[in-house]
Symmetry: C2
Subunit: 322 residues, 2 copies
């Protein structure tokens, strides 16, 4: 256990737990949903629906992010974004997040303040509060975020409601983060568009509640990869899904990166995770909400997830622990 | 990064993330507040009050617990208990917890299942659900728990409402966990009463809402030590507090352990953390709820926390990071 307590405030050991929590929370603007913010034993958050949607995700340094590739601010944004995307994927509006931060005592204070700045930046983008947290020492940096949200009187949109004949649609980027990872993995830092997509995603939060209002029958956020996550949805719903590649837009940036690296950009779109787009199913008669694009069809049970009518011949997405 | 993937299911790498989440959640009885349990992008929990109380605490192996001293089941119980105590300290009834677990891939599956069994044991004791979670790989074991609760129409009891003339009261054990730590630190494993108090606390959850109903003006859970936590409450309320030691019960077990180790048991009571008793202030005319004992008085501002009218001559509690 590192125990290098410096006299000044340039490490987290130097400024201490309460100093650190102060730096994380003081002087930050809270939205109206934050009824009692940080500083007490617990926070109080508005839950006008009478139900609260809750999710938690943990990010570990050198597993889920690398400071060589991402700035602390990017990591902070990403940690908040991946959780808010899960709230949106239930059709809920995010209201708040809580932050657990474990880090070595000799972590530079500036790293933590930049992490926190990134968290607040993403929180502001989604108009949610950072309402509580805990800061503890550990041997490596671990970020644990919990996000809460409100359903606004609607039923939650689960993974299990898709029915044969529904259309499959997505909103948000696909394959960008994977292209960025490929670029970074080769030692490049550009094009910055795909690299920044890897550093921190930009999930389309408002598209979740919009899909719910439009009558989405099932929804999931694309964290592991489109085919992998549609597989989770198909399994939960007891249906098959066919994705039509001619409906998937291949942005010129992805084509260019694919050409430069000798990689197939459609593979990034189909199997790349971490963009946190939303994928949902809708009754076939639905006028899709703004930003949503049809990419496939829900089929009869037990056909699995197919691409252009055929099984996909490759890894479908991120496999944890391997 | 350890990457010893064993072929069987005897390590977490062997059974994988989804197997692990299944082991954590499948076949577990959820209370009626769990409207949608684990398995989707997020859970849905009842928040009948229209507000939700939320808190998060992170526990790190060899910082907050040691497997040489505590079984995984004890650690699981403790991780849940410390969070539920924070909910109770707001005067709220806990409804649910979410679990973030980071651990090395070569962690034995049985360690994780015992951890989770302990979490469920404590959750059942408080009648809350474990509604969601995340399991990721890391170099050391980190547990991040978020707890939610419901205020039942009452205002939250914060740290800042104490007024001069109020009585100070506590409910729950004080000094037991510190005595247990002293015993374990000397290499002993008994008396089991204090040792188990260190391994996992038994916070008096129901005493929090009971205090709120009785009109508590301020409340805090004793996690850092009685004097330290009363100091937080006094600071937030802008008051002084005097603790009268003749009102603090010294259980014979603590006296015996103190005699055996040559230590002052009253010091454990005044400064020992981790029992997660509740401390609160009440108007002087209050009939204290069952289980609450008066231990002191709220004084005029700027007198700090005193013991029998005098400043305390020692460390008042746990200092993080040092």
């Amino acid at each position: 256990m590192a125990d290098r307590t410096t006299p000044g405030g340039d490490t987290v050991a130097g400024i201490g737990e309460f100093g650190l929590i102060g730096a994380m929370t003081e002087g930050r603007a809270q939205p109206s949903t934050t009824l009692l913010g940080p500083g007490d034993d617990a926070a109080v958050v508005a839950a006008p629906d009478g139900r609260v949607v809750a999710t938690t995700d943990v990010l570990v340094q050198n597993v889920h992010f690398r400071f060589g590739w991402s700035s602390p601010a990017h990591v902070g944004r990403k940690a908040v974004a991946v959780n808010l995307a899960d709230i949106a994927a239930m059709g809920a509006v995010p209201t708040s997040v809580l932050v657990g931060l474990a880090c070595p005592p000799d972590t530079e204070t500036s790293v933590v303040t930049q992490l926190v700045d990134g968290m607040w930046e993403e929180a502001a983008r989604a108009r949610v509060g950072i309402v509580g947290g805990d800061v503890v020492r550990a041997e490596e940096l671990v970020l644990s975020i919990t996000a809460l949200g409100d359903l606004g009187g609607r039923p939650p949109v689960t993974r299990s409601g898709a029915r044969p004949g529904d259309v499959v649609a997505v909103c948000g980027r696909l394959g960008w983060a994977a292209a960025g990872l490929a670029v970074l993995g080769r030692g490049f830092r550009s094009p910055v568009g795909v690299v920044n997509a890897q550093r921190s995603p930009e999930p389309p939060y408002a598209a979740g509640p919009a899909a719910a209002i439009a009558g989405a029958t099932a929804m999931i956020d694309v964290s592991d990869g489109l085919l992998a996550d549609l597989g989770h949805l198909a399994l939960a719903s007891g249906v098959g899904i066919d994705v039509q590649t001619d409906r998937l837009t291949l942005d010129q940036k992805l084509v260019d990166v694919g050409t430069a690296l000798g990689a197939d950009p459609m593979r990034w779109v189909l199997t790349g995770g971490e963009d946190h787009a939303l994928a949902a199913t809708f009754p076939s008669y639905t006028d899709l909400p703004e930003g949503w694009t049809r990419i496939g069809t829900v089929l009869l049970p037990d056909t699995g997830v197919t691409v252009d009518g055929r099984p996909y011949d490759g890894e479908t997405g991120w496999e944890h622990w391997r």
